[in-house]
């Protein structure tokens, strides 16, 4: 097991780092040195289910299909790549990220079990990279820290009645009321 731990992208700072159904990881550059022939897969699992995953699971089978996640599939495999996709060293200034959850077209398509589909809930999720040669696991990273996605509130929770009064409005109201009262008093005194 390699010491690398997958992590959410820190630089550059992204507004869409986590949304309601996607999150963005750094690509594993300079991590899988020497495994030129391996397929590197991303394993995504619910935080509470990581102990049920073992590395003999094979991608593209119903047991690891995205369409069955999270029930009955506890962890799915997606984002197949080779070392050529992650050249080392990373050119400075390039943005090298993986957006988990970006493929919406195959989310319901059972014929595409390795679909990188949108995540079904806020999580928390944990991910790791797994390198397979043929069907044999040859290297894996550690599980990432738990990743929680954003939950959206309903707009009816926004309170619009709480507007305070600005200083200008209070000044106008008090001063004008006082002036008007003085004028009325003057009228009464005059008559």
């Amino acid at each position: 097991e390699l010491g690398y731990r997958p992590v959410l992208t820190q630089t550059p700072s992204l507004e869409g780092l986590t949304t309601a159904s996607t999150f963005v990881l750094d690509q594993p550059r300079c991590v899988f040195g020497g495994y030129d022939n391996a397929d590197i897969w991303l394993v995504v699992a619910l935080d509470k289910a990581i102990s049920t995953f073992n590395n003999t699971a094979r991608p593209g089978t119903p047991e690891t299909a995205f369409q069955g996640f999270p029930d009955p599939v506890p962890a799915y495999m997606t984002l197949n790549a080779t070392l050529a996709n992650y050249p080392c060293p990373k050119p400075a200034g390039d943005i090298t990220v993986l957006r988990v959850g970006s493929e919406t077209s195959c989310a319901q398509d059972e014929a595409r079990p390795t679909c990188n589909g949108p995540l079904p809930g806020p999580g928390p999720y944990r991910v790791k990279f797994l390198a397979l040669e043929g069907s044999e696991p040859v290297a894996e990273t550690a599980w990432s820290a738990p990743i929680t996605l954003r939950t959206a509130k309903s707009p009816s929770s926004i309170s619009t009645t709480d507007s305070g009064h600005s200083a200008g409005m209070i000044a106008i109201t008090t001063i004008l009321s006082i002036l008007f009262a003085i004028l009325l008093a003057g009228l009464v005194a005059m008559l």
């Binding site: 996607t22 954003r150 709480d162």
Partner: protein
């Protein structure tokens, strides 16, 4: 006697001058309010959709108050020069009524301006922008206004693009979160109206999307309108107060 006569003449002169200023300010107030009413700024559909038209009511009252002030100032000048008790009494009473109306207009404009908080626009945007079954024309207007606003001011949402992430919305019902974390209009667009870099926009990479909120672009014109009516009216009323006090004093000194 000469000294008292001089004092009376000075007071008359001051009152005539005061009334001239009131007349001119009345015309200016009418002109300003006609400008606001006939030249609605681009965010008017959003205000109309809040179903609270007080700022416009305040401007309408301002038009009529301005004309009344002009007419009454002429009456006041004639009354002061002829030293006529009846004319001046009529003038004072009508001016007090006009004062009350203008006071109402200023306070209404200021109060309504205070109610136009970011939360109000946020709620309206989330509930109506790109609503799939528009209940009436104002929903379409809201969508068109927001599209133009975001395009011209290079902004997104009320406080920022995260508005679309923090809350569910009518937009979210028809556009999946993974494809549209925020509307396409929030992306930096090229000359054809297509995003320069769609993936960059969806990720939120600085430079490919508009990161600031539109509230400043909305509150700018609204503030000008509201404070233009409220503070100018307030200034006129302060001056009118002084002239009226002077007139009352002059009236009580006129012999039958």
């Amino acid at each position: 006697m000469a000294k008292s006569d001089d004092c009376v003449h000075i007071l008359q002169g001051l009152l005539v001058f005061g009334n001239v200023v009131i007349g001119m300010c009345g015309i200016a107030l009418t002109a300003e309010c006609i400008y606001f009413v006939s030249n609605p700024h681009g965010v008017y559909p959003l205000l109309k959709a809040t179903e609270n038209n007080d700022i416009y009511a305040a401007a309408w009252i301002g038009i009529f108050v301005g004309l009344a002030l002009f007419a009454l100032s002429i009456l006041g000048i004639i009354g002061v020069i002829k030293a006529s008790r009846t004319l001046l009494l009529v003038y004072i009473i009508l001016m007090l009524i006009t004062f009350a109306f203008e006071m109402a207009s200023c306070i209404t404009a200021a109060t309504h301006r205070d109610s136009l908080t970011p939360s109000l626009f946020l709620k309206q945007m989330l509930e109506r922008y790109q609503k799939s079954e528009p209940a009436n024309d104002s929903d379409n207007e809201v969508t068109k206004t927001w599209d133009e606003l975001m395009l011209q001011n290079h902004c997104c949402g009320v406080l920022g693009p995260s508005d679309w992430q923090e809350y569910t919305s009518a937009f979210r019902l028809t556009h999946k979160d993974a494809d549209y974390p925020w509307p396409r209009k929030c992306c930096v667009l090229d000359a054809q109206g297509l995003p320069v870099n769609l993936d960059g926009c969806k990720l939120g990479v600085p430079g490919y999307y508009n990161s600031n909120g539109c509230y400043d672009a909305i509150s700018g014109p609204v503030n000008t309108h509201a404070w233009g009516v409220a503070w100018f009216g307030f200034a006129i009323l302060c001056w009118t107060f002084c002239v009226l006090l002077g007139t009352m004093f002059y009236w009580s000194g006129i012999e039958y």
